[in-house]
Symmetry: C2
C-alpha cells in the first residue's frame, strides 16, 4: 500500500521527540557509512522558480526516498516519498511544507541535546516565522526551558509568537524590542530568519555571544542568504554543521571562510557529534550549530510521520498503486 | 488537484499516436534549448538493487517532473510525477511500469517516422517481451505495416507474441526459428532484448543489414548490456541516438566506440532529427536508431496520459494534497 498524507494528516502525525530520535538514528547510520546522499539537484524554472530533488539511500536500515520541491510565483510546494527497500514498496507520499520546518527544528533539537549546557534554562529567539516556532519547540524537547525572549522586526508578529508559543509550550515567552535584548545572557540562541530578503544585513552578531552560550542558526541555506556575522564563527569554541555541503551552500559560512574566520579544525559534522565526538568540553564554552538541511533528515522525519500516521489511521491509502515488474 | 493513476488507469489512458506526438513536441522544445535535463542519479541499494531519479524541466512549455524507479529482489517499480510550472501544481503521480515500455516504443515510433522508408511494409522483431510489443505497436502507428516476423529463443513465447500482436494490430505476425529469418529483407527491424542476462552475446548482427533497412535497438541501456554488434554501427549510413548520454550508458555504443566503428560524423541526436536534420538521404540507405530513454520522453508521455485520464475520468483525485507555502 501507499499512503497519501496531506498537510492535516502530517500535522496530526507529528511528534517532535520521536522525530528527533529518528533523525539521530539516521545520522548514526550516516556516520557508519550506510548512507548514499548525492548533492541535491537544483534546476532553474520560469519566473525565478526552481525544481529541486534531494534523494537519500540508507542501506543499513533499508530506508530510502526523496524530497522534491518546486517554486513558482513566490509559492513553494514540498513532496517527500519514502520507500522500503526490503519490500520494494513506496510507503508514503506526503506534503512536507510543514514537515520541512519540523525536521529543521528537530535537527536543531538534536544538535542542542549534545551541545547546550545540561542546565540551560533560557532561550533567545531571533525570528518569528514557522521555523522559529519549530526550532523553539525542538529545543524545549531536549532541555527544561523556563524562559524565552523573542525578537523580530515586526512588533505584531513577535507579540503573536510570544502569545502562541507561551500557550503551546506552557512556559513564559516574552517579545522584546531588539535582537540583543532577546539573546543577552541566554543559554541557548535560535537564529531563524530570512534576513537576505530584507536587505538589512545579519540578524545576529558574534559580539553578543556570552560564555557558555549555544547558538543555533538555520536561516542561511543559500549563498545569497545571511543571518549571523562572520565573528560568530571565530568566537565559537566549537562549531557543528549538519552537512559538509553547507560549506558551499550557506552564505554565512561562505563569508566566514572568505574572512578567514572559519577555522576548520574546530568544525565537526553532526553525524560525528551524535556518534560520540565531543565538542562542548566544559560549561563555559561557546558552541555554534549551523544547518542547511539534508535528505536523511527528511527521510527519517517522514518515516516517523508515516509510522505514526499508520497508528492513528490518518491519510488516504491508494493501495499498491505502483506495479511490481519483473526486472530481467 | 493531484491525480493518482495506477497501472489500470494508465493502461486505459494510453494512446500511442498521441504519445508519439507529445514526445516529438518535447524533443522540439529540447532542440530549442528550453529543457534542463541533468544526467540521471543512480544510487546502489541492498540486494544488488538501485534507486534512480530522472528529472526534466521544460521551460518553454512550462512542464516538468521526474521519474523515480527502484529495484530490489528482482522487482522494479516506476513512479512518474508531473508538475505544471505555471500553477505550481503536482498534476499527477502515476505508475509507469507499463508506461516506460510505451514511451520507449513511442520514441522508436518517432524515430521510425523520420528514418524508415515511406513505403516500409515489413518488420522483423527480435525479442518477445513487453518492449518488443510496444515498439512494434509504435512502428505500426507511423507506417502501414503489413507483415511482421518475430524471433525469440523461447518458441512458446514467440508464438504467443505472434498470436497476440496479430490480433491486436490486425496484421500478419509470424514466429520464426532464427533471428536471421526474422530480419532478412525486412524494411524495419526492432531489436528489443535483454541479451546480457542470457550470456549468449548479441541478438543482431550488422551483416544482416540489407539496403534500405532501418533498425531500432532499445535494449542496451547499461554498459553491461548488449544486443547489436559493433559492425551494425559501421554498416549504418546514418545513426540517430535519443540522447548523447547514451555514449556513456549503452554497452553496444561503448563497444562500437572501442572498436573504432562508431563514426561520430554520421551520428545525429533525435532532437536534431525532429527539428529537421536529414539522416536518410535516399531509400537505399541503411539507418540505425539507438535509445536508452530520457526524462523528457517520460514527462511528455506522462502528460499525454494525464490529459487523457482527465478526459476519461479515471484515476484517484487526492485533491490539492501539497500545500502551497509562501516562499519568503
Amino acid at each position: 500500500m501507499t499512503l497519501i498524507l496531506n498537510l492535516k494528516d502530517v500535522e496530526q502525525a507529528i511528534n517532535m521527540r520521536t522525530i528527533i530520535d529518528q533523525i539521530e538514528k539516521g545520522l548514526v547510520e550516516e556516520y557508519n557509512g550506510g548512507v548514499i546522499m548525492p548533492p541535491r539537484m537544483n534546476m532553474a524554472t520560469n519566473n525565478q522558480g526552481f525544481f529541486r530533488l534531494m534523494p537519500a539511500v540508507m542501506n543499513e536500515s533499508g530506508y530510502m526516498g526523496f524530497k522534491a520541491f518546486f517554486k513558482s510565483g513566490g509559492q513553494v510546494r514540498y513532496l517527500i516519498g519514502i520507500i522500503d527497500q526490503k519490500e520494494n514498496n513506496l510507503e508514503a507520499m506526503m506534503d512536507s511544507s510543514y514537515l520541512t520546518a519540523v525536521r529543521t527544528g528537530a535537527t536543531t533539537g538534536l544538535a542542542t541535546k549534545y551541545l547546550a549546557r545540561e542546565n540551560a534554562r533560557t532561550v533567545g529567539v531571533i525570528g518569528s516565522g514557522l521555523e522559529a516556532r519549530t526550532n523553539l519547540e525542538a529545543v524545549c524537547a531536549v532541555r527544561d526551558i523556563e524562559y524565552v525572549r523573542v525578537f523580530s522586526p515586526n512588533p505584531q508578529r513577535r507579540e503573536l509568537f510570544a502569545a502562541e508559543m507561551s500557550e503551546k509550550l506552557g512556559i513564559q515567552v516574552k517579545a522584546v524590542a531588539s535582537p540583543f535584548m532577546a539573546v543577552e545572557g541566554a543559554d541557548i540562541v535560535n537564529v531563524c530568519t530570512n534576513t537576505s530578503t530584507k536587505g538589512n544585513g545579519v540578524a545576529f552578531e558574534g559580539k553578543w555571544m556570552n560564555r557558555s552560550m549555544h547558538v543555533n542558526s538555520i536561516g542561511s541555506t543559500m549563498p545569497s542568504m545571511r543571518e549571523i556575522d562572520t565573528d560568530s564563527f571565530e568566537k565559537a569554541d566549537g562549531i557543528v554543521i549538519d552537512t559538509i555541503h553547507l560549506e558551499n551552500e550557506s552564505g554565512d559560512v561562505l563569508q566566514a571562510i572568505k574572512a578567514g574566520q572559519y577555522d576548520r579544525s574546530k568544525v565537526v559534522e553532526l553525524k560525528e557529534l551524535v556518534a560520540g565526538k565531543k565538542v562542548r568540553l566544559h560549561d563555559e564554552q561557546i558552541t555554534l550549530f549551523k544547518s542547511v538541511g539534508t535528505a536523511v533528515q527528511d527521510i527519517m522525519a517522514a518515516r516517523a510521520v508515516y509510522e505514526e500516521a499508520k497508528k492513528l489511521g490518518v491519510g488516504t491509502d491508494v493501495g499498491e498503486f505502483l506495479e511490481a515488474k519483473l526486472f530481467n
